[in-house]
């Protein structure tokens, strides 16, 4: 790839079998960020993870409403910022009320949003038209 600007949009059915594909697209794009001076392998892994977690949540919660639904994922990479948007048609939720995992009493669930928040620089979740958007940003400098 080489040049800094990347814009890819992928639309998949709400099925977990597509997580592998989505994660790998992210990993691939991360690995090819030739202008990124940090640890590119680590960034590629984080992109895989963050896309997997965000898409898995969108699939899980969209599914409850409309099984025939799709999830749209947009990945935008500029020289200094990476931006991921995951659109779902589920009932939505309040990102602010999701608690941190309790490390002294670990649970099976509730680590996905924590991964996203920890590995990236900002996360928001807002209603936009007829869908919800989880928007994830990371500075690349």
């Amino acid at each position: 790839m080489g040049t800094a600007d990347i814009q890819v949009e992928v639309i998949i059915p709400t099925q977990t079998k597509y997580l592998d594909l989505i994660g790998c697209i992210g990993e691939r794009l991360g690995r090819e960020l030739e202008n990124f001076t940090g640890d590119r392998e680590a960034l590629a892994y984080y992109l895989n993870l963050v896309l997997t977690e965000a898409t898995a949540n969108a699939i899980k919660h969209a599914k409850d409403c409309r099984p025939e639904d799709t999830v749209r994922i947009s990945i935008n990479i500029q020289a200094d910022e990476l931006n991921i948007k995951v659109y779902d048609h589920g009932q939505g939720f309040d990102l602010e009320t999701v608690p941190m995992p309790d490390f002294d009493d670990p649970k099976e669930n509730g680590m996905g949003i924590y991964f996203i928040k920890t590995l990236m620089d900002s996360v928001t979740y807002v209603r936009q038209g007829d869908c919800n958007v989880l928007e994830i940003k990371k500075h690349l400098t």
């Binding site: 977990t16 079998k17 997580l19 592998d20 994660g23 680590a42 892994y45 895989n48 993870l49 997997t52 977690e53 898995a56 699939i59 899980k60 995992p101 490390f103 670990p106 649970k107 099976e108 669930n109 509730g110 680590m111 996905g112 924590y114 991964f115 920890t118 590995l119």
Partner: protein, 112 residues
């Protein structure tokens, strides 16, 4: 979820034969471990050498096995974790929960 089981005297070894554990196959891992525990195999080593990627649901599946083994007075330990996968255990502090060994031999040698 491709898994193979190696029966030993006191400890069974579950070899995870997947490069990736995510929400698509983690339920399979969780169930498999639960079934083993229910069949009376209370001591397990989960060998993770093949695994290059794990998400939160994969960690959750292993934690479920860990807790279920403990509640049956058994033990679930891990071995051969790849560096990038280990980083996920560290981020969630689950490396302080699980016993983690370099390889299966070391895992078995440390059980009594």
């Amino acid at each position: 979820m491709k898994l193979t089981l190696e029966k030993n005297k006191n400890f069974n070894v579950v070899w995870v034969q997947e490069e990736r554990i995510d929400a698509h196959n983690s339920a399979g891992l969780k169930e498999y471990i639960l079934n083993l525990l229910e069949e009376g195999e209370h001591n397990l080593v989960v060998q993770l050498e093949q695994v290059r990627f794990i998400d939160s649901s994969g960690l959750g599946a292993l934690l479920s096995g860990y807790k279920n083994a403990a509640s049956r007075s058994g033990k679930l330990v891990l071995s051969n974790i790849q560096p990038q996968v280990l980083a996920m255990f560290e981020l969630t502090r689950l490396n302080r929960v699980f016993e983690i060994y370099l390889d299966v031999d070391e895992a078995l040698a440390n059980q009594t």
